[in-house]
Symmetry: C2
Subunit: 172 residues, 2 copies
């Protein structure tokens, strides 16, 4: 699948088949994130790859909109440096966003759907996964083969601001 097709087809998948992901698929998703660029090549991320159902179900309760994690074949927790006294934190998040995009596009090409989730109860998630105090865990990505009930559209057309509104030429 070429890049442009992947970008056009990409949409959130929140409902997954029970089928597990092959190990090589899991590794490629994680490796895509690892390869992402980052400010001064700081690579300010660690990924926790979770496939145990009990952990997925517990993690799913750490955010109001994280229900999709419970049924995922794989959840990748994106761990960054803590925001406390860290002026680079917004850049860490920018870089984490790039890594997330790489993982989700690489997954899509292999027929794997995905959805990001926001951790609201960070302490609970941190304890569950053993994340050290100097690290932050605010973001997870669910992955899995899309459930039959959610066939992928050829192109996602709706829901984005129009090109002419988003793009300014030469000046604001």
């Amino acid at each position: 699948m070429d890049v442009w097709e992947a970008i056009r087809r990409k949409r959130a998948v929140r409902s997954f088949k029970k089928e597990p992901l092959p190990d090589d698929v899991v590794r490629r998703i994680l490796d895509a994130g690892r390869r992402a660029q980052s400010a001064k090549n700081s690579q300010p991320w660690d990924f926790i790859a979770i496939r145990e159902r009990e952990t997925l179900q517990a993690l799913a309760t750490c955010g109001q909109w994280m229900g999709h994690v419970a049924g995922a074949a794989l959840c990748v927790a994106i761990v960054t440096p803590s925001p406390e006294g860290n002026e680079r934190y917004p850049w860490n998040m920018f870089d984490a966003g790039q890594a997330a995009a790489y993982m989700q596009l690489a997954a899509l090409e292999m027929g794997v759907g995905s959805c990001p989730g926001t951790v609201y109860d960070e302490e609970k998630a941190r304890e569950l996964l053993g994340v050290p105090a100097e690290k932050s865990l605010r973001l997870v990505l669910s992955f899995g083969y899309p459930a039959e009930s959610t066939p992928p559209p050829a192109v996602v057309k709706r829901g984005r601001r129009p090109f002419e509104e988003v793009v300014h030429w030469e000046r604001w």
Copy 2:
């Protein structure tokens, strides 16, 4: 070019040919960013697409490592909501990171190199581009056909932390 190949080949290009980018290439790069996902579909970004040499040269002086902007065929300034009193700012940056990744991968597929740049002198950049006070401009992306002197490697192998260091299985 498939997604995985693009991710493997991707590396920063800071030196560009003088050749301009065709309009359809410019539009596809911008459209790729516009299509990126974002928290609650907030799309917290505006893009300023700059091709005028004088503006590019002035913008290149707004950050210590932004020299590549002066010679770019296109610079995309990523404008987000201001961080002032904005608790969503880290998420805005995460989303901006996703949009940046989409733009750079879409560009790569079309043979267009790119490099991010950090704006240090935000006031100067804001004034140059007419960015409103309630918006923030900390990030730009340079685009252009790579200069002959920087042939793209088949695969970028160096410079990333090893897979086993970045990835934790099930728990930290």
